[in-house]
Symmetry: D2
Subunit: 206 residues, 4 copies
Amino acid sequence: MAKLYFRYGAMNSGKSTGLLQVAFNYEERGQRVLLAKPGVDTKGAGEIVSRLGMSRDVDFLLQPGDDARAQFAAHAAGDDPEALVQHVDVAPVACLLIDEAQFLTPQQVDDLFRIAVEDGVPVIAYGIRTDFKTRAFPGAARLFEIAHALEELKTICRCGRKAIFNTRRVGQDVVFDGEQVAIDGADVWYESLCGKCYLEASGGRL
Amino acid sequence: MAKLYFRYGAMNSGKSTGLLQVAFNYEERGQRVLLAKPGVDTKGAGEIVSRLGMSRDVDFLLQPGDDARAQFAAHAAGDDPEALVQHVDVAPVACLLIDEAQFLTPQQVDDLFRIAVEDGVPVIAYGIRTDFKTRAFPGAARLFEIAHALEELKTICRCGRKAIFNTRRVGQDVVFDGEQVAIDGADVWYESLCGKCYLEASGGRL
Amino acid sequence: MAKLYFRYGAMNSGKSTGLLQVAFNYEERGQRVLLAKPGVDTKGAGEIVSRLGMSRDVDFLLQPGDDARAQFAAHAAGDDPEALVQHVDVAPVACLLIDEAQFLTPQQVDDLFRIAVEDGVPVIAYGIRTDFKTRAFPGAARLFEIAHALEELKTICRCGRKAIFNTRRVGQDVVFDGEQVAIDGADVWYESLCGKCYLEASGGRL
Amino acid sequence: MAKLYFRYGAMNSGKSTGLLQVAFNYEERGQRVLLAKPGVDTKGAGEIVSRLGMSRDVDFLLQPGDDARAQFAAHAAGDDPEALVQHVDVAPVACLLIDEAQFLTPQQVDDLFRIAVEDGVPVIAYGIRTDFKTRAFPGAARLFEIAHALEELKTICRCGRKAIFNTRRVGQDVVFDGEQVAIDGADVWYESLCGKCYLEASGGRL
């Protein structure tokens, strides 16, 4: 039976690099993978971008109302809506890889679970646990409930300890108020911190 | 820096046995531990009971409104309210062990985090992930957000696969409606199932 | 496909308790397990003994020259040489559990691997990594080479850190010379230490 | 206390990519790392090369007779023998990263252990477990004995299962005789296989 994996880690722990490496490993052995991510993540548009310099287009974006299992089935079958010829003979999909899985809806995580358990295709979802207020994103919360395996990708805090939280920064200021989702870019960035450094930055607030 | 650990597993995966073993290991090396559990768990009253036959009294129960860090501090200092003599010289606590941690309030999980990070005492919390409808218990949800380490205790489904869900049974019937908390006993019991067997039992409901 | 698991840990990390818990979990679900250990481990004769107070007879002992796969097959089939009636109808074995696996010969570890891969029966082997000189026991060395999964059972050093080494003690003396195998008992005992405390005890010797 | 980590995986499981990602993560946070590998690995000369396309020079090569701790200390202090000015002010090293660690001598692994435990610098060693005959390389064997943490990097077999063994191929032939070390290149290559596919390829030989 195939499984749904949640590989979680703080911001900048190498999740996209890990995903691209897994895709490479499958394809190097002649096996087919599909890549997807939530449309909420506007960074890189339809690309998965590694800070090490690699990038790759996703096969499909998942918008909040999408049925992830139906989307998967359509793309697995070669039903590219933008292609003229449908149902080309395609190899079966050996693995579905999801980036930024914290932005999925809980329903979409259930879809991924069914892809693994009922359709027999392993799904590896990469994402972060919590927002800048230490509260789980909806997709991450559901993944912690139902994923078959929880695997941590580690990174370090500025103090050298393992980072577990993500602080939001606007310029040099650490902020603790605002919307849950603010994609990092020109104004906003995130710094991964350990528990001790987070509590120091937040004045003891969790 | 000490850490907050969440050792999670399906019902009957050996969590209480694991907890009692860790307590034994510390005490065998001359170190002091404290044991606690939420008062919501009425099974065994103030005891931690392993299905292998061992049991042991907790040092304190945590009721929903309790400040877990204050309770810990009082018991660590030897302030037993039922004892005649207070503040006896006591060894520092090397580890705090929590059973049935899924029943803690989110605030109490934050307290445990502070015990680890600010008081420097490792906290190992044992609990299950989800209720019989595959939804996280409040304490488990918060532990997945902030625990330093998530460690799985595995057990098997009747089919031999790893169990990840807990089905509620009333007699021989599997039920999917009812209150989140119903302590197992004469009428109600739980069976740990893998994803596939759960979906078969629930008619596809997650 | 079934797997060969190596659950390793320092002395007194709860390996036998863990094994007995797994056996209990299988049997509670109506599944049959077999328990075995190397005959080299003379402690408890034919029993697996947990320091928490439980014990249980093994189904068979493995002597150095034994073919572990043949022994397993015979016991799985119900061919108890001491029984009058042979080939009683027996349930298939759902899991083979091995205690003190570090004392197996490399060939016997290969046998366990074939039981998992070719006979389809999961094998969970519990054992320690290294002797009192930090050198792997033969069975452990082979398990590190071929086991499908390496899973650590943790325990603590007297200083509170994770213990990874086993020091041999004769009375209060720590010794670093002698035979690789000396079962703990009246004269000899072992203390699990972290790397730092081991190096202090050994005068820097590894 | 710093730790010695062994991150092991079959050939082509993404070890070099993982190492380069960790180096990136440290440096992005303004921390200094050193990279090294055994001189035995002649592939890429003094470079660590990821199949995803990235590469980076090591800071030093370790030849079989080298004292790894002395080499580390010299490079950490800025004593580049090829530099004209010695002992430039340099930041302390936050992490030492080793690629192809299976080719280290056991003594060099002991050196890495002392760097972690006595010098307080975390060491992360990446390597494979076993040669094409399923026997541990000397460095891997010692790492399994003394590393503080064993962490698996997973990859897949051509059949979709997790690969755990490395078969040597000369052209299309699978070979089971020859020297332990033969760096892959024009004539020789390696294919990572699961236990079942390995036994089929080897005719049952382990």
